[in-house]
C-alpha cells in the first residue's frame, strides 16, 4: 500500500466511511496511521466525528483548527495536516470533501505529497443518481482532477444502499467501475463491502475487499 492514500468522490459516495475503515485496517501495520479529514463541504457525517473511536484505535485524526469540529462550518484546515504528509514513516489517509469543489482543498497540499508513493482514489457509488453512468463519472473525475491538480490513480467500488445493500448493488457498481476502468485506464483497487456481504461476493473481482462497518450511521437511522 502507498504511504499516502487520498479518498475523493461524489458527496454521499461513502468516502468518509471508506476512509475510516481503511484507516482502522491499517493500524496493525508497523507504521503510525493518520486520518486527515479535509472535508470542508459537508456539515454533518464527517469522519472527524469519530475522533474518539479512531484515537482509541491509535489513528491520529486531523480536522480543522478549532477543536469543535462538529458544529463549525468554517472552511479551515489545521496546518497539522502537513505533518503526516511529510513524515516518511507515517501512513496518511486523506478524506477529501465531496465533488470537485471538495477536492479543491487538495491543491494546497499538492507540493508536499510524495509523488511516487501516493494513491488518489475515486470512490464510486452507482446507487447515487449523479454517478450512475460512465458519462457522469467521466465528468466527475475530470472535475476532481481539474480542481485538485491531481490525477486519479484508482477506483473504489463502494456501491451501496446503506444497511439495505445487497450484492445486486455491488454487482452494478462493479459493472460501472469496469466501464470506467476500461475507458480511463484506471485500475479497480478496492471494493467497499458491508461486513455481512463479504462472503457473498465472487472471488474473481480485481482489487481488494475492504469490509465496511458503518461508523457514521446511528442505530436509530436503521428504522424508519
Amino acid at each position: 500500500m502507498k504511504r499516502v492514500t487520498i479518498v475523493t468522490g461524489h458527496f454521499g459516495s461513502g468516502k468518509s466511511e471508506f476512509a475510516i475503515n481503511l484507516a482502522l485496517r491499517l493500524v496493525s501495520a508497523e507504521a503510525p496511521v493518520a486520518l486527515l479529514d479535509l472535508d470542508v463541504v459537508n456539515p454533518y457525517f464527517r469522519s472527524r466525528e469519530q475522533r474518539e473511536l479512531l484515537e482509541r484505535n491509535a489513528v491520529r485524526v486531523i480536522g480543522n483548527t478549532f477543536g469543535k469540529d462538529v458544529g463549525v462550518d468554517v472552511p479551515a484546515i489545521s496546518a497539522e495536516a502537513y505533518g503526516p504528509l511529510q513524515d516518511p514513516s507515517t501512513y496518511a489517509i486523506i478524506d477529501a470533501g465531496g465533488d470537485p469543489v471538495g477536492a479543491r482543498v487538495l491543491g494546497s497540499f499538492r507540493h508536499v505529497l510524495p509523488r511516487e508513493n501516493c494513491e488518489v482514489l475515486c470512490v464510486v457509488n452507482a446507487s447515487r443518481p449523479e454517478t450512475q453512468s460512465i458519462q457522469q463519472m467521466r465528468r466527475l473525475i475530470s472535475g476532481i482532477e481539474g480542481e485538485s491538480g491531481l490525477r486519479i490513480t484508482g477506483l473504489v467500488n463502494n456501491t451501496h444502499m446503506l444497511e439495505h445493500t445487497t450484492t445486486r448493488e455491488l454487482r452494478r457498481g462493479f459493472e460501472l467501475c469496469r466501464e470506467i476502468s476500461e475507458a480511463l485506464e484506471l485500475p479497480i483497487l478496492y471494493h467497499g463491502v458491508l461486513q455481512s456481504l463479504v462472503e457473498e461476493l465472487p472471488g474473481d473481482w480485481p482489487g481488494e475487499l475492504v469490509p465496511i462497518a458503518m461508523y457514521l450511521r446511528e442505530a436509530w437511522m436503521h428504522g424508519s
Binding site: 456539515p43 462550518d73 457509488n125 446507487s127 444502499m161 439495505h164 442505530a219 436509530w220
Partner: protein, 358 residues
Amino acid sequence: MDKVLMKGNEALCAAAIRGGCQFFFGYPITPQNEIPEYMSRELGRAGGTFLQAESEVAAINMVYGAAGAGARVMTSSSSPGIALKQEGISYICGAELPCVIVNISRGGPGLGGIQPSQADYFQATRGGGNGDYYLLVFAPANIQEAADLMIEAFDLADLYRMPVMILGDGMLGQMMEPVVFKERKPRDLPQKDWATTGTAGKRKPNIINSLRLDPAELENLNIRLQEKYAQLKANEVRYETHQTEDAELVFVAYGTSSRIVKNAVAVMRANGLKAGLIRPITLWPFPEQAFEELPDSLRALMSVELSHGQMIDDVKIAARGRWPVGFYGRSGGMIFTQQEIVEAGEKLLREVSHVSGV
C-alpha cells in the same frame, strides 16, 4: 425510476421538480445548502427558473410575486433564515397565495448553530408573522416520506390557496436513505382564475394584495381563512400511531425524534413496559384525534422533542387534562439516545405511580 440513494435535501428537490415546481427563490444557509445547489443545477434543465436572491426577505417576496402570477413556486431556508421570511409569509397568507416553504431547522435562538434541532415548532405552527393565519405544516420522519409529502405539498397549496411548510430538522436534510419516486395520478385542482396572468383586454385585472383598509372586508377575509382552516382540520390531518393499543405510556414525537423514540419503545417493551408512540405528520393541524383513540390502560403521555418543549403545549391541549404530560428534550444540536428516552419514560411512570398511590 429505480431506487436511488439520496440525501434528504436532494430528495426534497427531486420531488419538488416532479411535483411541478417552476420557480425556486432562496438564499444559502447550512444545513439546507444542497437544496439551492440542486435546484440551481436541475430546475433550469426541467424548464423552471432558479434564482438566488440577495436575501431571505427578497426571496420570500419573489415567491409572493411568482405565486400571484399562478406559478408553482418554493423557497427553502433554515431556522434564522425562515425567521427573516415571516413578514412575507404573513403577506402570502393575507393574499391567499399557494407556495411551498422548506425549513431544514438548526439550533437557536439567534444564529444558533448548524446541528439539527426542532426548536422551530412554535415558529411553524403559531404563525411567526402577524395576523390570524396558519400554515399547513408537514413533518416527515424519513426521506421517502419527505419526498412523498413534498409532491403533496404543491397540490395542497394550490387546493387551499395557502403556503405549505415542510419542517425537517438538519438531520433529515443531511442524512441519506434509499428513495423511490412513484408515478402518481395528478389531482383535480381548481383553475387559478385569480392569478395575474394578463387580461388580454377581456376581463377586469386580477389584483394580488394583502392590504384591506375596509374593516368589514378584512374581517370577511379572516372568516374565509378560518373556514379554510376548519376544512384542513377535517381533511388533512395526518399521523401515525405505533403500539398504542395497550400502552401505559405513550410518547409523542415527530421527525427525527420519532425514530429514536421508536427504538426506545422497542427497548421498553422488551423490558416488559408497555410503551407506544403517536407521531404527528401534520404539526398544524395537530392530530388531536389520535388522542381520542388511546386505551384505558394509559397512565401518562410524554412529549419528546429536540427542544426544551414546544409541541408539549399541543399535547396538553389534546390531552385535555385526562393524563399527566411529561417531557424530555435536548437542544442546541445535541441529540438524545434511545437510552435517555427509556430512562425518562421509566422515571415518569414511577412518578405517576407515586402520585396516584399505586
